[in-house]
């Protein structure tokens, strides 16, 4: 056996020739033609095509060189082919997606064993760019592609799992922990003030604006992330935050293939927190009692069985999490038809007792080549999810708030409900019902018609259905009413929508060197949402939760709602390439949205991009041996945002919430309808470079961009004297500058060992450029302890705004300042009698000033606040920006090592330089509620007597001194580095696998969230903030799990 490994040639000539051939090849594949044309005197050759590990490659194309693509075939499912070739002998070109092409000489009638090498950073990869595709080498915008292989290493349940760390500029926050939860994905930072407006646009198999919730990551063939506006502009109004195009898998021309996968994951509480034990609770009680305003004495009675437990709530409330994941897929194809079917079922039992989610996803993809010219495609996907939503506030947060000496169980073994105003978190977890199930289905039908060579008409229609139902119930045992009362509700929601698209694609090459592409299309879509809720109390039976069980229906919480929106568009693209050296793409899109004012329904979005392959210039020939390929890209594009309320442009009268004396009132809402409302515009300039070294062993891509949002859709406060609170307007602007760097490398590649590496780094700096009114405070602006944020011109989103704590006054006399508000040091004699002040060691005899809070003089045990305004009161004027919730950078390194049958992949990711507000700790430590026990550190370190040097204020001083307002004590560094995914796979040698009638068999060990390095003190520093104006506040979330699992993959 002779193995032939021919490397791809990179001369200009072969590049061009190759390109032409690939196009023809694609055409052939599409038509599923296995044409064999005989010449006068020809011979039969046959052979097999395999990858480097000996696995057959089905669907590889084998073409006779010089036949102009006319003579060729595709390999069957065993990788075999046979072909008639001209007698003289010649060359065969063998290629397959994801592998390097080889050209081999035929030496007569032979059996040819052909081995294809996996392509390293192949430039021939197809990139989906919206309504058409492009080869990676011709791309002019900033697009990152993620392949099925990259995703496979993750055992992803959600898209967030699949994409985290895979691409520069893609900020993926994974909320992994709670069953059924996902996370968030943001491309190149937020650019507007609403979270909906900051989410990327998803295009799944051509369906624009599809929901990413229902995608099964193992169905994904490729993900193309359109980052710059020039790439996204073809999607116009919704592409302001980038576009994620997902293409799902399709079967290949071969025998049916069955793929089975099973994974079982165990999950552990990744980070257990220290909580005050019963002894510490009593210590704190004594502390409360001994103080002047002390009121608490309760719950320390040594004879009361209710107060003499010593619980480890985290142990009681959590368990070993178990997750089963089953996947089965069936794919294949024949001459005219190709198909892919998959089913996934996930059964997840979370860390917190009684938290669970079940997920079922089904997909059917069919392509049918009806004739040479017409192809029909069907994509059907169905999703079902069912979960019990655990109330985090009443369970995991309650475990920290509730004193550990409170009983969980009554003497008879039944669970307690409320004890001294504190819920029993175990009862909440076990008895509170919040069941949510959801069904979604999407059906997509498409016809492609090749009108003439190079001109193709595509039309498709999508129907989308989504229905959700939520049943909530809180039984009597959890009631705080007197007498006890149960309550519940049942809510339904339904969303139906359709989308129609029709477009023409045109390709033409003139005079061999000039290739043109064109696109012209039209689309329209409409969505209708309906919902209803019925609420009741006094259920006669606590197991029957339908509303006939409710004794009383609550009218204020019983209603139905409805809304709809529509969008229509015309779009087009022109592309030009000269020998692949100079590339140009320009797009235009005109979008109409029902959400805007009558005069402003339509918005136009343009883009242009150029790319220059400088390595194709002769003056770069010298570098050819090292720099295989180099391309400079420059783009400019406009996109838009329409993520606002459906009817913000209409002045409306509402009803249902203005009742008086038996009459349902009608009134305008608090938001003024603005008929002049228009599009939010986003322009983005991007410059980037793509470099390929050493024939693909090393690839580097780097981009710099400036993204500017103008006519910001902004909820401007109206003077309340008008009777309204706010009006939606187009005002203000926002700018993000960013830098991205990514690297693909294969540092080691020998016969048996291979090491692949992907690394990326992203830096984003967003600033509010212009804001009507200059600044406003989002979140807490009062005396509470929750976080507040300053949103101001020139500022960043996520600027925490509050008071800076400099320590705690040791003595009453320590609250003393000179005329310039510099601290004075009190001096005491040996018996503790106050003597006077010194400053810098010298006696001070000037005026002594003190600080006050709402008329109350601060004293020993109160927090020393930074007196920004330099006056005698600590008030709103003393606030300052305390930190920022956005990272300085984020990035990831993904390694894949393979040695014979073994392969090990592991991902490190990091988010660095962001601050978080630990509101979960703040809520414990604010002394406000008698039966909420602070953290042990606070109990031990609270100021007790004059002279104590500490950073924790005295426990009786809660409201009068302002000690508990939002302050820097709870700002923490949220930086982390995480070993987030690890998978070790062993694949049986093909020969052995075949003996047990499988094509492939592999077993693997999988782990996620294995090690985290961080200084953040609460459960985990990584979580999603729902509101871009309120970033980085940790209110105490469902704890993250550390997962370890075992899996099996069988391929028939």
């Amino acid at each position: 056996m002779q193995k032939i490994n021919l490397k791809r040639q990179n001369s200009l000539w072969s590049h061009f020739k190759e390109k032409k051939q690939v196009r023809q090849l694609v055409m052939m594949a599409c038509m599923l033609l296995a044409v064999t044309i005989s010449y006068g005197q020809s011979i039969q050759v046959h052979g097999t095509v395999q990858d480097e590990t000996g696995v057959a490659i089905a669907g590889a194309s084998v073409i006779v060189s010089g036949s102009g693509g006319k003579t060729g075939t595709l390999t069957d499912s065993t990788g075999a082919f046979s072909l008639q070739i001209p007698e003289k002998g010649g060359s065969l070109e063998v290629s397959a997606v994801g592998y390097e092409k080889v050209i081999i000489k035929t030496m007569g009638t032979q059996s040819l064993p052909i081995v294809l090498k996996a392509a390293a950073g192949s430039l021939d990869e197809i990139v989906v760019i919206g309504y058409s595709t492009q080869k990676k080498r011709d791309v002019t915008g900033a697009i990152t592609s993620v392949t099925a292989k990259q995703i496979e290493e993750r055992q992803a349940v959600t898209l967030e799992d699949a994409l985290q760390g895979q691409a520069a500029g893609l900020m993926v926050i994974n909320n992994a922990g709670e069953p059924g939860e996902s996370g968030s994905i943001q491309i190149r930072g937020g650019s507007t003030f609403s979270s909906a407006g900051n989410a990327p646009l998803y295009v799944i198999d051509g369906v624009v604006g599809a929901s990413a919730d229902n995608i099964n990551p193992s169905d994904i063939e490729s993900v193309d992330v359109l980052k710059d506006a020039a790439s996204g502009a073809i999607y116009g109004s919704r592409a302001a935050n980038g576009v994620i195009i997902i293409t799902t898998k399709m079967g290949m021309l071969n025998k049916p293939q069955v793929n089975l996968n099973y994974l079982h994951n165990f999950g552990y509480l990744a980070h257990k927190l220290r909580q005050a034990n019963a002894t510490e609770v009593r210590l704190y009680r004594n502390e409360q009692k001994s103080n002047l305003n002390g009121t608490a004495g309760g719950s320390t009675d040594s004879l009361n069985p209710g107060f003499n437990a010593d619980n480890d709530y985290q142990d009681a409330l959590t368990r070993l999490a178990n997750k089963d994941q089953y996947d089965i897929s069936l794919s294949g194809g024949s001459k005219n038809i190709k198909y892919y079917n998959s089913v996934r079922y996930v059964d997840d039992k979370g860390l917190i007792l009684n938290s669970w989610a079940k997920l079922l996803q089904i997909r059917t993809n069919i392509d049918f080549q009806a004739s040479k010219k017409i192809k029909f495609s069907t994509r059907f996907s169905f999703g079902y999810r069912d979960r019990n939503n655990i109330n985090e506030g009443n369970t995991i947060n309650q475990t920290f708030q509730r004193p550990t000496n409170f009983a969980l169980y009554l003497p008879d073994g039944s669970l307690t409900g409320y004890v001294s105003g504190r819920r029993n978190p175990l009862s909440v977890a076990l008895y509170e019902v919040n069941l949510n199930d959801r069904y979604s289905a999407t059906l997509f039908q498409q016809m492609e018609y090749n009108i003439v060579r190079g001109l193709k008409f595509t039309t498709n229609i999508t129907a989308d259905y989504d229905e959700g139902r939520t049943v909530k119930f809180s039984p009597k045992i959890l009631s705080s009413n007197n007498p006890l009362k149960n309550s519940g509700s049942e809510a339904w929601s339904r969303s139906i929508g359709w989308q129609y698209q029709a477009y023409l694609n045109y390709n033409k090459t003139i005079a061999k060197d000039h290739s043109f592409t064109g696109l012209l299309g039209f689309s329209a879509e409409k969505t209708q949402r309906n919902n209803s809720i019925i609420s009741g109390t006094d259920y006669v039976n606590e197991h029957i939760l339908t509303l006939n069980s409710a004794g009383t229906i609550v009218p204020a919480k019983t209603n139905t709602g409805a809304s709809g929106n529509s969008l229509a568009s015309i779009f087009g693209r022109i592309g030009y390439s000269y020998l692949g050296k100079y590339n140009f793409n320009g797009t235009v899109r005109r979008d109409g949205s029902s959400r805007f004012g009558k005069q402003n329904i339509w918005g136009n979005f343009y883009s242009g991009a150029v790319a220059w392959r400088f390595t194709s210039e002769h003056f770069m020939d010298w570098a050819k041996n090292i720099l295989t390929d180099g391309k400079l890209r420059l783009s400019y594009g406009q996109t838009g945002n329409e993520s606002i309320g459906n009817y913000d442009a209409i002045q409306r009268y509402g009803f249902g919430s203005y009742f008086y004396n038996g009459v349902s009132g009608i009134a305008t809402g608090s938001s003024f309808g603005n008929p002049t409302l228009s599009w939010e515009n986003n322009t983005q300039k991007n410059i980037g470079i793509d470099l390929t070294f050493l024939k693909g062993r090393l690839g580097i891509t780097s981009d710099y961009y400036i993204k500017t949002t103008t006519d910001l859709l902004y909820n401007q406060p109206l003077p309340v004297e008008t009777g309204f609170n706010s009006v939606r307007v187009n005002l203000g602007s926002f700018e993000t500058k960013g830098f991205e760097f990514s690297l693909n490398a294969t540092p080691v590649q020998t016969k048996d060992f291979r090491w692949d590496l992907i690394a990326n780094l992203s830096v984003e700096r967003g600033r509010v450029k212009q804001l009507p009114g200059g600044a406003f405070i989002s979140g807490n602006s009062g005396s509470g302890g929750g976080a507040g944020w300053l949103i101001r011109e020139g500022g960043r989103l996520g600027d925490f705004y509050g008071w800076k704590a400099l320590g705690v006054y040791a003595y009453d006399e320590s609250n003393a300042y000179d005329d310039n508000w510099n601290r004075l040091d009190p001096v005491f004699d040996g018996s503790g009698v106050f003597q006077g002040y010194t400053q810098n060691g010298k006696p001070y005899n000037g005026d002594v000033h003190s600080l006050y809070n709402t008329g109350v003089k601060l004293r020993g045990g109160d927090i020393i606040f930074d007196n920004v305004a330099k006056d005698s009161v600590i008030d709103d004027n003393d606030r300052q920006v305390l930190g920022n919730a956005q990272p300085s950078f984020y990035g990831a390194i993904i390694n894949t090592l393979s040695y014979k049958g073994f392969s090990l992949s592991f991902t490190f990711n990091t988010t660095w330089g962001n601050d978080l507000y630990n509101n979960a700790a703040q809520a414990l430590n604010n002394y406000r509620t008698t039966h909420i026990i602070p953290q042990p550190y606070v109990i031990y370190n609270a100021w007790r007597r004059p002279g104590d040097i500490t950073d924790v204020p005295e426990v009786s001083r809660k409201n009068t001194s302002g000690n508990m307002r939002m302050n820097s004590r709870y700002i923490e560094d949220g930086s982390f580095i995480r070993l987030s995914y690890v998978r070790l796979t062993y694949k049986l040698p093909a020969a052995i696998a075949r003996t047990i009638f499988t094509r492939d068999l592999s077993v693997y060990v999988y782990g996620s969230n294995l090690i985290t390095w961080t200084n953040y003190s609460w459960f985990d520093p990584e979580f999603t903030s729902n509101d871009p104006l309120q970033l980085g506040q940790d209110n105490g979330r469902y704890p993250r799990r550390r997962e370890v699992g075992l899996g099996l993959n069988i391929h028939f």
Partner: protein, 474 residues
């Protein structure tokens, strides 16, 4: 090339066809402004929205405005110092006038549209019926401005609805005197339009309008006009003092009494719970306020005063439960969950006006009449009548009337305005505040700056209107 041309044209044609119509989406749970104000039923709904606005105004804040800054209450451990230590700031609760302007806007919309209903859609509508609706709208607007001017002084004046985005929404404050004149003029207009036979205790009736007129005149120290309004009210022959035995009905069932003039209806099942209950007495939470010792001591030491046990809960050791607005329970008082509380806040009732009548007499140097009206209320409470000799001077009589008002109208948002109206804020509150400041180990400055009688304007309200200026010294 020909195919390309035709195919392109087909696409563009599809795109161009009927798009604007396709993109016309109308609200499905609300109606556009052009579809409202077309029938009498619409007017009724518009009126309900005005009263609903008053529920927003008084559902939480009336205790803060009318009682919290006085010698009626002290704070509980869960409350804040702002009100009870004269330490209000621009972020204190109760500093926003937004809800009053919500009422004003709804009233302005009604005043503009009610006549158009008859003119454009229902020509046969009875003019008297229409006038009575209009009268309520004027009355509501006047009442909202009256509260604003008493709490904050000068304020932006809007007498027509804000309807056009191009109209400047920022207006500066209009002088307090001008606002008060507008209030008075609106009330007179309202009385003229009002039908004395229409309405019920939860609405602005002719009686309620006279009560407002009397109150406004008292605020302006125009005792003559106040007396006229009182007389006109009594001439309606609708009102009389509720007997001792059924005093509680004034707060829990105003429809059943002749002593109630205007009360705020509340039904938690549609309005949500009256959140005022969380400040003064709800089953599921501690109150923000506790009974001030002077009141606690008076009521506990005078058990014959029937108001005590029906006003505050003697059984609660931290003195933080006020039971005035709830039916008396058998045994231990049961309080509703704050999300299920109804508080039928009495805006005007006859006892209030009788005591004002006593004040008028006292001001007009007629102590006999003053004593007569004072004693009606005093005796109704189960106490023995005062003698003329108890009050040797005009000043002692005034204090006695104010004291009676404090007990009778306890937690009905009258005390603060009584103190402001009679110029007694500093006199009464100085000693109280000094004692509280001592407890806090703060400088005992008493009430301090007199300009703090006016409330600060809420920070967000200030920020939203660039032409507003804060009340000094806040």
């Amino acid at each position: 090339m020909k195919q390309l041309f035709f195919a392109s044209m087909a696409i563009l044609l599809m795109g161009a066809m009927g798009c604007n119509k396709f993109l016309n989406e109308q609200p499905q749970t609300e109606i556009g402004e052009t579809e409202f104000w077309r029938s009498e039923a619409d007017i009724q709904s518009g009126m309900a929205a005005i009263y609903d606005g008053f529920q927003d105004c008084f559902g939480n804040d009336y205790v803060l405005w009318g009682d919290a800054r006085t010698d009626e209450v002290w704070r509980n451990q869960y409350g804040v110092d702002d009100h009870v230590l004269n330490a209000l700031s621009a972020t204190s609760s109760g500093t926003s006038w937004a809800n009053f302007y919500e009422v004003i806007n709804r009233a302005n919309v009604a005043i503009k549209n009610i006549p158009l209903v008859k003119a454009k859609y229902v020509p046969g509508m009875d003019q008297a019926v229409l006038n009575h609706y209009l009268s309520q709208a004027y009355g509501a607007r006047a009442f909202a401005y009256y509260w604003i001017v008493r709490l904050w002084g000068a304020a932006p004046l809007w007498t027509a609805p804000y309807e056009n985005i191009n109209e400047d929404p920022d207006r500066p404050r209009t002088e307090a005197a001008v606002i008060l004149d507008t209030v008075y003029a609106d009330l007179q207009k309202a009385v003229a339009l009002s039908d004395p036979k229409s309405g019920n205790v939860f609405e602005i009736t002719t009686g309620a309008l006279y009560a407002m007129l009397m109150d406004v005149s008292m605020w302006k120290k125009d005792y003559g006009s106040a007396l006229q309004s009182f007389d006109k009210l009594m001439a309606l022959n609708k009102y009389s003092i509720e007997p001792t035995a059924t005093w509680k009905n004034l707060f829990i069932d105003p429809r059943s009494t002749k002593g109630a003039i205007w009360s705020l209806d509340w039904d938690w099942t549609v309005d949500g719970g009256a959140s005022i209950s969380a400040l003064i007495g709800a089953g599921d939470t501690n109150s923000d306020f506790a009974v001030e010792d002077s009141v606690w001591n008076y009521f506990t030491q005078h058990p014959m005063d029937i108001r005590g046990a029906q006003t505050i809960d003697f059984d609660v050791t931290n003195h933080d439960k006020f039971n005035k607005f709830y039916p008396k329970s058998v045994g231990k008082q049961v309080y509703p969950n704050h999300k299920e509380a109804n508080v039928l806040f009495p805006l005007y009732r006859l006892a209030d006006l009788f005591l004002l009548r006593a004040e008028i007499a006292n001001q007009q140097n007629d102590p006999a009449t003053a004593l007569q009206y004072l004693n009606i209320i005093h005796e109704r409470a189960g106490l023995t009548a005062y003698f003329a000799t108890d009050f040797p001077s005009k000043a002692t009589m005034e204090n006695a009337i104010l004291e009676e008002r404090k007990l009778e109208l306890y937690m009905e948002a009258k005390r603060w305005f009584d103190l402001v109206r009679t110029g007694k804020v500093v006199e009464v509150m100085d000693p109280v505040l000094k004692a509280r400041q001592a407890l806090r180990m703060s400088p005992e400055i008493g009430f301090g700056d007199k300009r703090k009688i006016l409330w600060p304007i809420n920070r967000n309200v200030l920020n939203a209107n660039i032409k507003l200026e804060q009340n000094p010294p806040y």
